[in-house]
């Protein structure tokens, strides 16, 4: 039985008296411990898809089941991470990481101890008492990642979490996320614009079509450990080229859609 089972999911909304279909009869099964990268042109509904799985946005039709139970509200079994860190600006990094632990009912001393461990894990231990605006972009995303680890959901929902970072910080964080995924055995839905990132991290890669979003291609990427060598392997380049060929067509369609 798949962990996440989606059957003909529809999502549409009305804007300027026009009905816009964002997702069109999308069906998909995701197995436990998969790392699913999702790429697609801008506006193809991949973020909306993630928000629906997170329970933040409502669906228009279809069915979403997690562990064979219908899903319609947010919950700590799925953890969302956004491109803009979404740390609470009035809390320090440590307090931010503490909050999900508090919601789980852990005593204060235990919370602090665990939060410090998570911050150490993402190399932020020294900056625990700083506020988000005192942290760099990469550090903010690390803090958000530590908070996600503290929530400890079965499934990570990540919406371009490294999209706003410089390329060096980005590669480092990709490696860290990969290590976390391997060791903690999580299931990840990872939306990105960056094909290299999608190929490097994913065990499975979904290419979305231009709006209305459907799945154009569903690619398995067989490579066990993603070392730095993987980035220069023929396998990597082959997949990368294939994905770009698929995506290119959709990006052009999306552009035509925007111009009309």
């Amino acid at each position: 039985m798949p962990l996440l089972d989606i059957r003909s999911l529809d999502k549409s909304f009305t804007a300027d008296n026009k009905e816009i279909t964002v997702l069109d009869r999308l069906s998909l099964s995701i197995e436990d411990r998969d790392f699913v990268s999702i790429v697609g042109p801008t506006g193809c509904g991949k973020s909306t898809f993630l928000h629906i799985v997170g329970g933040f946005e409502s669906k228009t039709g279809g069915e979403v089941r997690l562990n064979d139970r219908p899903l319609d509200a947010p919950g700590p079994d799925r953890g969302m991470m956004f491109q803009d860190h979404s740390l609470f600006p009035w809390l320090t990094a440590l307090e931010n990481v503490c909050w999900p632990l508090e919601m789980k009912g852990l005593p204060r001393a235990k919370r602090l101890e665990m939060a410090r461990e998570y911050l150490d894990l993402v190399h932020l231990g020294r900056y625990a008492d700083l506020y988000p605006e005192q942290l760099s972009g990469g550090m903010k995303q690390r803090a958000a990642l530590a908070r996600l680890l503290a929530l400890d959901p079965q499934m990570f929902l990540m919406d371009e979490p490294f999209g706003a970072l410089d390329s060096q910080t980005r590669e480092l964080l990709q490696e860290e996320l990969h290590a976390i995924w391997r060791h903690r055995r999580k299931t990840v839905l990872f939306v990105t614009h960056d094909i290299d990132e999608a190929v490097y991290l994913g065990t499975r890669l979904l290419v979305f079509t231009a709006r209305p979003g459907r799945i154009k291609a569903d690619i398995r990427i067989e490579a066990d450990e993603r070392t730095a060598n993987f980035r220069t392997s023929p396998e990597f380049f082959k997949t990368r080229t294939r994905v770009w060929d698929l995506l290119r067509e959709e990006v052009l369609k999306a552009r035509a859609l925007e111009e009309n």
């Binding site: 933040f56 969302m80 956004f82 803009d84 979404s86 609470f88 009035w90 919601m103």
Partner: protein, 255 residues
């Protein structure tokens, strides 16, 4: 909080400077000393009226009224703004009516309020309440509306219910705007009380100012004005300290 002496001087030197300019203007005959007595004369009256308790009494009356009206406006206004911002039903019901009343000078209701509440403290508090309500509600309303959805989502993701979301995400997000509204409303409260006391009352700083104006004894008028200013300034400083206690500000953010 200790300040280095240099910064203390840089911050406050304008006040003795003003006193000097004032004294020079009066001594040189640039202004009529009948309309503007010199600082020495005013300070002398100020002291004697404080020591005799007269100014203290009137100031206490005015401050009590201003703070009551202000506190009432805050107590009603902040929850009202939250309800308007977060509940569409409440917004549709009250927003048009509320903003219709915004530009209306509440003082136009003076005869009616006097009829209902009399000339005393009650009508002063009612006026203050109404005048303070607007800046508090308007500012808080925009504070409660401008909340980042993703922060709310994040809290719900942790399993937070509506009340936890309100107390721990919505309210802290709106607090800076709420305090801006309070800071605008506080001097308004003092102005409204003094003004309505000037129109009709037998106690309060406004009454005191009117009485001594009609007697052309302007040093008493200026003494009362100084008391109004000092009270307003002190209350604002207290509010700033309270704000610092509750509102998070980045340690290196510009103040």
């Amino acid at each position: 909080m200790k300040e280095p002496i240099g910064r203390f001087i840089a911050r406050w030197y304008s006040i003795p400077l003003l006193l000097v300019v004032w004294q020079v203007a009066v001594s040189s005959g640039l202004v009529q000393s009948r309309l503007l007595p010199g600082p020495a004369a005013v300070v002398e009256v100020l002291f004697s009226q404080i020591m005799s308790g007269v100014l203290v009494y009137h100031a206490a009356v005015t401050l009590g009224r201003a703070l009551s009206g202000f506190a009432l406006a805050a107590t009603v206004g902040i929850p009202f703004a939250a309800a308007m911002a977060r509940a569409p039903l409440c917004r549709n019901l009250f927003e048009p009516i509320f903003f219709f009343g915004y530009p209306v000078p509440k003082i136009a209701l003076f005869p009616i309020f006097t009829y209902i509440f009399g000339l005393g403290t009650q009508s002063k508090i009612a006026f203050t309440f109404l005048e303070c309500l607007y800046p508090i509600v308007v500012s808080s309303y925009f504070g409660f509306r401008g909340i980042r959805t993703r922060l709310v989502w994040t809290a719900r993701n942790f399993g937070a219910g509506p009340w936890t979301v309100f107390w721990r995400v919505v309210l802290p997000s709106a607090l800076p705007a709420i305090f801006s509204g309070l800071r605008i409303a506080l001097p308004v409260a003092i102005i409204v009380v003094v003004l309505t006391e000037m129109i009709g009352d037998s106690i309060g700083l406004g009454y005191y100012i009117t009485v001594w104006s009609t007697r052309f004894t302007f040093q008493n008028v200026y003494a009362a004005i100084i008391v109004v200013g000092v009270c307003g300034f002190s209350l604002d400083q207290i509010l700033v300290q309270i704000r610092r206690r509750f509102v998070h500000e980045a340690p290196d953010a510009a103040r």
